[in-house]
Every structure is written in structure tokens, then in C-alpha cells.
């Protein structure tokens, strides 16, 4: 228990430097890119004077470090500022859009695990068989297929031809759960292809290694049934590997939503940051990066805690 607390403490202590580093790098990169949001804000009939006035009123004429420090100071007081473009509080935008992205990511993760785990187990219990070859090939295909292409294929088939699913948009889960899931189904499926492959492949290789180990041979010799060996010993041992895969998968899925949200016109975090980055809407970019970093850190922390539950040696180390 003390080990677990120390681990959580260590991870929490890392949050601040990681957030500062990530947001500083993103802020710096946005400043390195040429262009000026004052031009966008000034409109099509802009005059040099109007552009200068906007720069001054938004504080864009201040030195880079001053601008960053000002943003960080406000963020520490839970004020993520307002979007330059829409004048909406950034926090409101994030809270409005994050559930949509989260639903898609959770859907993709569920599909990845629901299909990937049985496939991995099947392949591992019958290594070198036709089934194993089929699963391995399918997994390779899943990794190779670009999700935006798969997304368009799914739209063409299930939305435009069969009319089973909506082709675009999203509905808030709180407003209409059934409709919300219906809207998220195709994007989640498109995102899940890589996840299914990843889970199946990692589980297969992990299980094959464990099932061919000496201690499993001993279990066989003691007369345990293959099913008992698989469920009680094999899967328990491979679960730490699986957790690692899940952790990485969630982080990757969060990033991949950028493309899929564009294909399905979903107002989520991906489309929010793309629009903001293109237009150099710093407060929104910083806010989304901050939210994503916090989510990734929390996810990693959760995985670390689960490691210690499944394998107490991790905490002791």
C-alpha cells in the first residue's frame, strides 16, 4: 500500500513539469510558424492601423515569454482565457467537445478489446494453425489500413448506401444516449481497426510465450486442464502486457480522432485543435493541449496503479 502511494506521489509530482514543458513547446511552435491572427481578426478590408490596434488589444505585441507566462499564470488560476476567434471561454469549448471525443475513443477501445482479445487468445491457443495465420494476417491488415480511408468506406457503405448510420455529426450523450451511440458507431469502428490488430497481436505473442514456459509445462504435468491453465494462469500473466497496450492505445486513439472527426464532421477535440492551430488561436490550442496532457497523464497513472494491483512487485521497485 505504501509502495502504491509512493508511486502515485511520484507520478503526480511529474504532472506540473510535463504540463509546463508540453504547453511551452506547443506555444513556441505556434510562434515559430509565420502568420498573424490579427490579420484574420481584422477581416477582409483590414488596414495596417486596425491590425496594429488588434495586436495591441489582444496583447499579441508583447514578448513571447511574457505572453506565455501570462497564459500560464491564468491557467494556474483555472482561467484558460477566451478564444481569439469566437470570444467563447476556452474551458466551455473543451467541456462541450470533450465528451464527444471521449465517447468515440471509448467506443473504439471497447471494439478493440471485444474483438482483439478473443482473436489473440484463439491465435495463441492454436499457434502455427490456419486460424493463427488468418488472425495474424488480419492484424497486419488492421495496422496497415489508414483509418481515414476505412472511415470513408464505412460511410459509403453503411451511411450512404444502406442508411443504417448517420454520415456526419454527433449528438450529446446526455441529450439522447441512443442517437449519440449511433453517431459514434462508425467513427469508433474506423478508429478501432488498428486497435483490434494491436491487441490481438500483442496478446497472441504474450500468451504464446507464457504458454510455452516451463511453469506452464509443470501445470500440465500436475494435471490442470488447458482451459484452467489459460484462464487462471496464462491470461493473468499476460494482463500486465495488455494493460500497457491499452494505455498506449488510448493515447493513440485520442490523437487519431483529428482525422476521423474531419471525415465525419464531428465537433470534438480534434477538430477544435485543428481549426485553432490553423488560425493561430493560441488560447484554444493551449487549452486543448493542456486537457490532452492531463488526460494522458491520468491514463498513465491509472495504468500504473493497475500494474501494482496485478503485480505488487511493480510498486516495490
Amino acid at each position: 500500500m505504501r509502495g502504491q502511494s509512493r508511486l502515485i506521489g511520484r507520478r503526480l509530482a511529474q504532472i506540473i513539469p510535463v504540463i509546463v514543458l508540453a504547453t511551452f513547446v506547443v506555444f513556441g511552435l505556434l510562434h515559430l510558424v509565420p502568420g498573424d491572427i490579427a490579420f484574420t481578426l481584422a477581416g477582409e478590408n483590414a488596414t495596417d492601423a486596425r491590425i496594429a490596434q488588434i495586436r495591441e488589444s489582444y496583447g499579441l505585441d508583447r514578448p513571447f515569454l511574457v505572453q506565455y507566462a501570462s497564459w500560464l499564470w491564468n491557467a494556474l488560476h483555472f482561467d484558460l482565457s477566451r478564444s481569439y476567434l469566437s470570444n467563447e471561454p476556452v474551458l466551455n469549448q473543451i467541456l462541450h467537445r470533450f465528451p464527444t471525443t471521449l465517447l468515440i475513443v471509448c467506443g473504439a477501445l471497447s471494439i478493440s478489446l471485444t474483438i482483439g482479445i478473443p482473436l489473440g487468445i484463439l491465435a495463441a491457443t492454436k499457434p502455427e494453425s490456419r486460424l493463427d495465420a488468418a488472425v495474424t494476417s488480419l492484424a497486419s491488415l488492421g495496422v496497415a489500413v489508414p483509418n481515414f480511408w476505412l472511415a470513408m468506406l464505412l460511410v459509403a457503405t453503411f451511411a450512404l448506401s444502406l442508411n443504417w448510420f448517420p454520415a456526419t455529426g454527433a449528438v450529446a450523450f446526455a441529450k439522447d444516449p441512443a442517437k449519440s451511440i449511433l453517431h459514434a458507431a462508425l467513427p469508433a469502428l474506423a478508429l478501432a481497426a488498428g486497435g483490434v490488430a494491436e491487441v490481438a497481436r500483442q496478446l497472441r505473442s504474450g500468451l504464446i510465450e507464457i504458454l510455452s514456459s516451463q511453469y506452464v509445462r509443470t501445470l500440465h504435468a500436475k494435471g490442470l486442464s488447458p482451459a484452467a491453465i489459460l484462464w487462471k494462469h496464462g491470461l493473468k500473466n499476460v494482463s500486465v502486457n495488455l494493460l500497457t497496450v491499452i494505455g498506449l492505445l488510448v493515447n493513440r486513439l485520442l490523437g487519431a480522432t483529428v482525422v476521423v472527426e474531419a471525415v465525419f464532421a464531428i465537433p470534438g477535440m480534434g477538430s477544435l485543435i485543428v481549426h485553432a492551430a490553423i488560425n493561430k488561436d493560441f488560447p484554444v490550442v493551449q487549452g486543448v493541449v493542456l486537457a490532452m496532457v492531463v488526460v494522458v497523464i491520468c491514463m498513465n497513472l491509472l495504468i500504473d496503479i493497475l500494474y501494482t494491483i496485478l503485480d505488487p512487485r511493480v510498486a516495490l521497485k
Binding site: 502568420g35 451511411a159 477544435l272
Partner: protein
């Protein structure tokens, strides 16, 4: 007559059919019906829903639903027509009198009378957050001269003013709402248009509903208009194919075959002022030499450019106004035929016998890169080695118009209702889009002024012809093509007609079934 260079017979007939269906069906079919919500896929999020504080050309489609303008315009020619101002006159060259339509109410029930018009015009020309001060720069003062009459005193003759008042500057907001809401009026506007604002989920959807006390008794037909922001136009079109939306606009020429193949979809197309063109900074070598600029104009095969990059869905451009526009100059439109020999000769005269290198900037998306490739190849044939550096709209515009260190910018001009604004903004002294900031020749200033000094259309057309001659002879620009508007809607959408501004209005639209 609209030139349809680059279209084959089948395309032309399809286009003709679609256009006829779009324009003629409204009159050939049953009477308009009231009711229903029009669901529109919009390609961009509005910058603001307050006409004075917004800045993007893509805002207008949203704004038109909620704001009526003092002056309206004819869809096909952009000639001014009565709007909230039922008539106007110039008793003296520097005095414009607007007679405001009586009985018009804003969505909040307050009257849109002379006092409200004065409030709006003063706010637009002097307000701290106004982005449209430049439009009203010739207004000296605005006086209420009757309950429904406003007199605008001008600093110089300006007959461009009526059409300027058909744009943002003429969109009337409720003074009460502006004063009460302040900055929040950007996101919660009150106008006097056919529909009133309900909600705006940023980058997601703008919802409007019928203005029950709208001044035109038979309009609007629709109970509401909902504009879903779908920035990917391919996805926007898919949303119409799937039946989630009824209408998508500003689609790409490459999507025309998709619309034609889709069941139950109608393609609507028509000419617009949107011109794909190359801007010059005439203060920078080598384009500070008029012979180089002329050579660059002669070296462009606009018909090939149209076929290769626009699927033939555009009108090759040599002058600043398209052939459908009242100020189009048919003589100057023939000034720069494709003539590579003449281009080489001009380059040799300018001292570039062995060719020349030109730096340019442009946009980084695939569509624009394709245009650049065609230009690079066409210029290569005459010895012009043009190199593009690409970026986003904000980056490149700032680089060309603010930093002003690049000689050539491949971009587009979205058009303005009055041609004087277009010429003034691109060629006027100190104008933002004139990267050199000085007029290319001293005659430009007086020629520009002359277009504002006469009132009737014919006299103005002649004034614009003189101005266009200066622009064309001095090769101040390389117009390439006027892009056609391409919209798609479901068959239940009736009565829609495109306009020359290329920004759809839904005031005459109704839904069947």
C-alpha cells in the same frame, strides 16, 4: 453571354439542365409552401455574427439569414435594388438621402427607423471594434431628416455608396440589443432579417427561426434555417447525399460528377465574382517592370488552366469583373490572349533574354498546389522560373500584405458588391491589398474617383472601362479564372437561385414534401 470554355457538350448540357432546374423550377412548379427547416452544410464557422465586428467573407451566408441590408442587389447582375431603404437619391453629388421603409421591426420588436439607421452607420464607421470603417470612409456625417429618412453627407462624390450599403455596412442591428449586449452581440445578434437568431454552438451549428413580424408579408417561406459547420466540403456533400442536410454550398468543381451521380440531388451553378488571380507587389523586382508583368499575363493559357484545375467550371478572366457583371469590360477582356512568343519578346526587352526567376507565395492545400503546378509549367515554356513558398491563408496574407517582401501572391479575390471597392482595395494608394501601397500610375487615383462621381449605371460603366484600361495595360494583376458557384441540394428544396456574389441567400427558398 457567359463563356463556358473548357466544358464538353455533356458537361455543358448537364450544367444547363441543373441551372435551368434551379432557376426555372421555382416558377414552373407549384406555388411556394410555408414551413419546414432548411438544413445547410456551411464550409466555415462565422468569425462573428455581428456584421460590424466580423471579418470573414464566408460570414455573409449566415448574416443574410438574420440581417436585411439597406440596399439589396439583383442576383444576376449585382445592380442595386431597394432593401430596407425603399428609395434613395443624390440631391447633390456629396449628399445621399435614404428613405427607410416604414414599419420594419427588429427581432426584439424595436423599430428599424431613421434613428436606428443612423446609429448603425455611425457605429460602423466610428465604433472601436468595427472592421468596416474603410467601407464608409467617405461618409462625413449622418443626419436623421425625418422619422424614416436619413441624409448622408459625403466628403467627396461617392456613388458606390448604395452598393456598399448592400454589404456588411448596410446590415442593420437593433441599437437596443447592441447597447445592452455589448461584445456579446457578436454571438447573440438581433437584426431585422427574415429569420432571428436562436443559438450558435461554435464551429458546430447556427440555428435561426422565423421572424414573425418580418416586413415582407409573404416571406420567409421557411420556418427556420440551420447552418451546420462542416469545414470538409467532401463531408458536407456527403451529409446532403445521406439526407442529414438539404443544401451544401461553395463545393469544389471536382465534386460536380459526384453530385450528378448521386440520386435525388440537384447541382446549381452560376458565375461569381470570385477570381483566382495572382497579385503583384509592383514595388519589388522583377515585377516592378511593366514588361515583366505583361509577359506573365501573356504566358498564361487561361483556357487550359480552367480545364486542368477547375474541371471547366469557371470563366477565364483577364479583367476584374466577370462577363455577367454590369461593369464588365468586353474590350479589355481580350487584351491578354495566350501568346508565349509575345511573352518571350517582352521578357527579352526587359533584359531577361535567358529567362528569369520569380519568387511567389501561395496556399498549401492540394487544390492550390495543383493550380501552382499548372502555372509553373506554363511559365516554364517561356523561361519564367516561378517558385512557390506555401502556407495557410493567414500566414501568406500577412507575408504579402503586411511584411510586403514577396513579389507575387497566388490567391483569390472574393468580390465586393460595388466594383469601386474592389478596384480601390486592390489598386488604390495605401490600400491593404495593394502591397506596393502606392498607386502604380498617377492616373489611377483620378480614375477611381471618377467611378464614384457619376450616378447612372451607363456612366459608371464607362468610368470603370477607363479604370480597367489602366489596370490591364499596366498589368497590375494576373486574373486567371472566375470560379463558378457550385451548390448541391435535395430535390425537396425549391426556389433557390445563385447570385453573382457567390454567397447564397435563402429568402426565396421553400421546401416541398
Amino acid at each position: 453571354m457567359i463563356r463556358l470554355n473548357g466544358l464538353d457538350r455533356r458537361d455543358f448540357l448537364a450544367l444547363l439542365g441543373a441551372t435551368t432546374a434551379a432557376s426555372g423550377s421555382a416558377y414552373a412548379q407549384a406555388a411556394p409552401k410555408r414551413g419546414g427547416i432548411l438544413r445547410v452544410s456551411a464550409p466555415a464557422n462565422p468569425s462573428s455574427l455581428d456584421p460590424a465586428t466580423g471579418g470573414s467573407g464566408s460570414d455573409h451566408v449566415f448574416l443574410y439569414t438574420m440581417f436585411d441590408t439597406l440596399v439589396a442587389f439583383d442576383y444576376e447582375t449585382l445592380r442595386p435594388m431597394p432593401g430596407l431603404a425603399e428609395s434613395w437619391s443624390y440631391p447633390a453629388p456629396t449628399t445621399l438621402v435614404l428613405n427607410i421603409r416604414p414599419g420594419v421591426l427588429f427581432h426584439d420588436g424595436t423599430p428599424c427607423d431613421a434613428a436606428a439607421v443612423k446609429f448603425n452607420l455611425d457605429r460602423n464607421r466610428k465604433g472601436e471594434r468595427s472592421n468596416i470603417k474603410g467601407d464608409l470612409v467617405t461618409v462625413a456625417d449622418v443626419t436623421v431628416t425625418g422619422p424614416n429618412q436619413v441624409t448622408i453627407r459625403l466628403t467627396e462624390p461617392d456613388t458606390a455608396m448604395p452598393l456598399i450599403l448592400s454589404d456588411r455596412a448596410g446590415m442593420m442591428c437593433s441599437p437596443k440589443a447592441v447597447e445592452e449586449r455589448g461584445k456579446d452581440h457578436d454571438r447573440n445578434p438581433v437584426g431585422a432579417g427574415p429569420w432571428k437568431f436562436v443559438s450558435w454552438a461554435n464551429a458546430e451549428k447556427v440555428v435561426t427561426t422565423r421572424h414573425e413580424k418580418y416586413w415582407r408579408p409573404d416571406r420567409p417561406y421557411l420556418d427556420g434555417v440551420e447552418l451546420a459547420v462542416i469545414t470538409e466540403v467532401q463531408t458536407g456533400l456527403r451529409s446532403v447525399v445521406a439526407g442529414q442536410n438539404d443544401f451544401a454550398y461553395q463545393l469544389l468543381p471536382s465534386q460536380k460528377p459526384v453530385i450528378d451521380r448521386a440520386k435525388g440531388l440537384v447541382a446549381v451553378t452560376g458565375p461569381t465574382l470570385y477570381c483566382v488571380q495572382m497579385f503583384f507587389n509592383c514595388a519589388i523586382a522583377p515585377v516592378n517592370d511593366v514588361r515583366v508583368r505583361q509577359a506573365m499575363n501573356f504566358a498564361i493559357d487561361r483556357d487550359e488552366f480552367n480545364k486542368a484545375t477547375m474541371n471547366g467550371l469557371s470563366e477565364p478572366a483577364v479583367v476584374t469583373m466577370p462577363s455577367a457583371h454590369w461593369a464588365h469590360d468586353p474590350i479589355m477582356a481580350k487584351y491578354y490572349p495566350y501568346d508565349p512568343d509575345k511573352a518571350r519578346k517582352l521578357l527579352a526587352e526587359a533584359g531577361y533574354k535567358d529567362g528569369l526567376d520569380v519568387q511567389a507565395i501561395g496556399f498549401s492545400d492540394q487544390r492550390w498546389q495543383q493550380r501552382q503546378e499548372v502555372i509553373i509549367e506554363q511559365y516554364r515554356k517561356v523561361g519564367i522560373r516561378i517558385r512557390f513558398t506555401n502556407g495557410t491563408v493567414a500566414e501568406t496574407s500577412a507575408s504579402f500584405n503586411t511584411e510586403r517582401k514577396v513579389p507575387v501572391f497566388l490567391s483569390a479575390w472574393t468580390g465586393r458588391p460595388d466594383p469601386t471597392s474592389t478596384y480601390q482595395l486592390m489598386f488604390g494608394e495605401g490600400a491593404y491589398y495593394n502591397a506596393a501601397r502606392v498607386a502604380a500610375t498617377p492616373e489611377i487615383g483620378p480614375a477611381l474617383q471618377a467611378t464614384r462621381a457619376v450616378e447612372d449605371t451607363e456612366s459608371r460603366r464607362k468610368a470603370f472601362a477607363k479604370l480597367q484600361r489602366l489596370v490591364t495595360e499596366n498589368a497590375l494583376l494576373i486574373p486567371l479564372v472566375f470560379q463558378f458557384e457550385l451548390d448541391a441540394h435535395s430535390q425537396k428544396v425549391k426556389g433557390f437561385k445563385p447570385n453573382l456574389l457567390g454567397k447564397p441567400k435563402f429568402e426565396n427558398v421553400w421546401l416541398e414534401g
